[in-house]
């Protein structure tokens, strides 16, 4: 009923995925500069996770639901989410679809079936079991995918998510991007399991581990998991083993808890993929430079368009708490707007965000 996944990626397809990986890296680098210059408040990069993000999302249909964490902006961009919207979210301004309510990197787009991540770790894992259950009950053939890190495997909702998916045999794929650190805690201290994919066994879920710099292997493992899910063979846990090359976030100082040289032991997914493509004769250093120039310019232009836009107004505070504005919120909105019309001005921030 569904086509068997191919064991290898065609070269042109791999080039296309590589371009998406490079876009994530360039956006991350630019966004960190925006954060350092005080123009956005916070940022988390996907440095070291680009192949994990793109290799998995590329194995899906656009109709498959994603329940991400906060390092998967690449999934959204892969699905055609406008760069302006993505960058607007970082500013929390009027092009931010989520109206400036969430911290940077907490994107959401219903049209792209990319469900808003919480900052609370692991809550989305069980949502993906529910998303898979819908697909199963309605016989749609969709799969439901969640992304999370190594730390989230300790959260209660990891247990709940895999329990429900295993019990109902839902078409859910649990993508665990193990980047070795949950802020300062190395995965070796996070749990006693020697590999996180082993955790799948106890839930009756297929588990496997794949190298985080190997785009092809990630894509193949994900494609097979998608195939099993659509066939009715149940959920999978894919552990993608990589390294968080950057600090946890723009607020974190990784030098406090790990040696800088540790990162060098881990291959860079971008460099690895580029070298593979060049080795196959389908890519060149010149093409690479052109790509970086083109994508960098797109990002720069989007920032220039988006940055001057205003923040949402105070009235937006009261929208979307409920489907319709109840009387008490109408009253509170009126009171706040009346008061602000007399005494404008936001309060200065007095403490930096720490993580």
């Amino acid at each position: 009923m569904f086509p068997q996944p191919k064991p290898t990626l065609p070269s042109d397809e791999m080039v296309r995925l590589y371009e998406h990986m490079v876009q994530i890296r360039l956006l991350d680098e630019r966004a960190i500069k925006l954060q350092r210059s005080g123009r956005i408040g916070f940022y988390v990069t996907a440095n070291g996770e680009e192949a994990a993000v793109i290799g998995t999302v590329a194995a899906l249909q656009p109709t498959d639901w994603l329940f991400p964490a906060y390092r998967q902006i690449g999934c959204l961009l892969y699905r055609g989410y406008p760069l302006d919207s993505a960058i607007g979210q970082l500013f929390g301004n009027t092009v931010d679809a989520t109206k400036g309510r969430q911290m940077p990197c907490h994107h959401s787009s219903a049209a792209h079936r990319f469900v808003s991540p919480s900052s609370v770790i692991g809550t989305q894992i069980v949502h993906a079991a529910g998303g898979g259950l819908t697909a199963k009950l309605q016989g749609k053939g969709d799969v439901s995918v969640t992304y999370f890190g190594d730390g989230a495997t300790s959260a209660n909702d990891f247990h709940s998510g895999l329990t429900f998916a295993g019990a109902y045999k839902t078409p859910t794929i649990f993508v665990c991007i193990n980047n070795q650190y949950a802020i300062s805690l190395p995965v070796s201290k996070q749990c006693g399991a020697s590999q996180l994919s082993d955790k799948a066994v106890g839930y009756g879920v297929h588990g496997e581990r794949v190298a985080g710099h190997d785009l092809e292997a990630i894509h193949t493992a994900m494609s097979q998991a998608v195939y099993r899910a659509r066939q009715g063979d149940g959920p999978s846990l894919i552990e993608i083993l990589t390294y968080r090359k950057d600090p946890h976030s723009s607020s974190d100082d990784a030098n406090r808890y790990r040696p800088a040289e540790e990162a060098e032991q881990w291959p860079d997914p971008i460099a690895t993929t580029r070298d593979t493509l060049i080795g196959r004769g389908v890519w060149s250093a010149e093409q690479d430079a052109l790509l970086i120039g083109r994508l960098g310019q797109q990002i720069q232009q989007a920032i220039q368009r988006v940055q001057p836009l205003p923040l949402p107004g105070p009235e937006s505070l009261f929208e979307d708490v409920y489907a319709t504005l109840p009387p008490h919120l109408q009253q509170q909105r009126h009171a706040l707007l009346t008061e602000l019309s007399k005494t404008a001005g936001q309060q200065a921030l007095v403490e930096e965000f720490p993580l």
Binding site: G41, F42, F91, G92, N93, D96, K99, G100, R101, Q102, M103, H106, S118, S119, V120, I121, G122, T123, G151, A152, S154, A155, N156, D157, A182, I183, S184, L185, K189, Q190, C191, S251, D252, R256, Y257, L311, P312, G313, P314, S316, L317, F318, V321, H328, L329, Q332, L336, E339, L340, K342, T343, G345, Q346, Q347, L349, V350, E351, F353, P354, L355
Partner: protein, 323 residues
């Protein structure tokens, strides 16, 4: 001069030195010293046996601490943000709070649960919430919120010796913005009594935590208008200092309550009810609240959410001038 966060670190060092059963448990509290650096230096001094980095499960942290406390240790745990207390809600409200009661007083779990709360750091939906009312609605818990370095140190040291579990909420936007000289030695501030921040005749203002400096600024503005404010820092929210509240209202006959949590069913509602029950015949104006709106906490427009000195001042004048 010590900041509020330094006073907390100071108290943690002293609590560990005073009592070898005190252990620290929480996410990133070890070598990293906590994301706000509250546990800075503790791991270097006391090592892995007494300062434990926790796996990423708040429910696990609280549950594990209950087990440790029942069997003889005194855990002081850190929940990285008060917002992350919700994943541990069951362990906090059904387990920690009720253990003494359900064992007929035979067992208890004297755990101190430290958590930074409140807005003002651009933390958005999940790093800004003020959950105090959930816990003041839970018999068995004691809820403390300091607003000064002196009180933070003294109340935390009192909490570390308290026979029952203490929810110790720290106003994170004040961590580094308030400073004062405090004693180097250990001292305690008793859990229970409120504190008179400034004494006045015309309006009582009841607040706690990060709203204290906001109310002080508003009180200064009101003073210029000839209105003197009796500003009360609750400090211990639960059990509530009913006597302190009533005394102040009897003096002024006017009450303003300020908190940054959503208004409806917030802690201020309990203060208002307490005033109505105990001092209604003294009131010369409606009891008034300035609070956060009944919405989730936003990110880029949080300045509209939080009560400001100006908003508190406006309300203060309304209450003061009510005839």
């Amino acid at each position: 001069m010590k900041t509020l966060i330094a006073a907390i670190t100071d108290a943690l060092h002293l609590a560990m030195a005073q009592d070898e059963t005190v252990v620290i448990l929480g996410e990133d509290v070890g070598i990293n010293g906590g994301v706000f650096r509250a546990t800075d230096g503790l791991h270097a001094t006391y090592g892995d046996a007494r300062v434990l980095d926790a796996p990423l499960s708040e429910s696990g942290i609280v549950g594990c601490a209950i087990g440790m406390a029942v069997t003889g240790l005194r855990p002081i745990i850190e929940i990285q943000f008060a917002d992350y207390m919700y994943p541990a809600f069951d362990q906090l409200t059904s387990e920690l709070a009720k253990l003494r009661y359900r064992t007929g007083g035979e067992l208890s779990a004297p755990v101190v649960v430290r958590a930074p709360y409140g807005g003002g750091i651009r933390g958005g939906l999940y790093h800004s919430q003020s959950p105090e009312a959930y816990f003041t609605h839970t018999p068995g818990l004691t809820v403390v919120i300091p607003s000064t370095p002196y009180d933070a140190k003294g109340l935390l040291l009192a909490a570390a010796q308290h026979p029952d579990p203490v929810i110790f909420l720290e106003p994170k936007r004040l961590y580094r913005s308030v400073k004062e000289s405090i004693p180097d030695d250990a001292y305690t501030v008793p859990i229970g009594p409120s504190r008179v921040v400034r004494s006045g005749e015309h309006v009582s203002v009841f607040a706690y935590g990060a709203m204290i400096p906001v109310c002080e600024e508003a009180a200064t503005l009101a003073n210029r208008e000839g209105v003197t404010v009796d500003l009360i820092d609750l400090r211990t929210l639960y059990p509530m200092d009913v006597e302190g509240i009533v005394q102040s209202v009897k003096k002024t006959g006017r009450a303003l309550i300020v908190y940054e949590a959503p208004k409806t069913c917030g802690y201020g509602a309990e203060i208002a009810a307490t005033i109505a029950e105990n001092a209604i015949e003294y009131l010369q104006a409606p009891v008034t609240r300035v609070a956060g709106p009944d919405t989730p906490f936003p990110y880029s427009i949080e300045g509209y959410y939080l009560p400001t000195p100006q908003r508190v001042f406006n309300a203060l004048m309304q209450v003061a001038l009510y005839r």
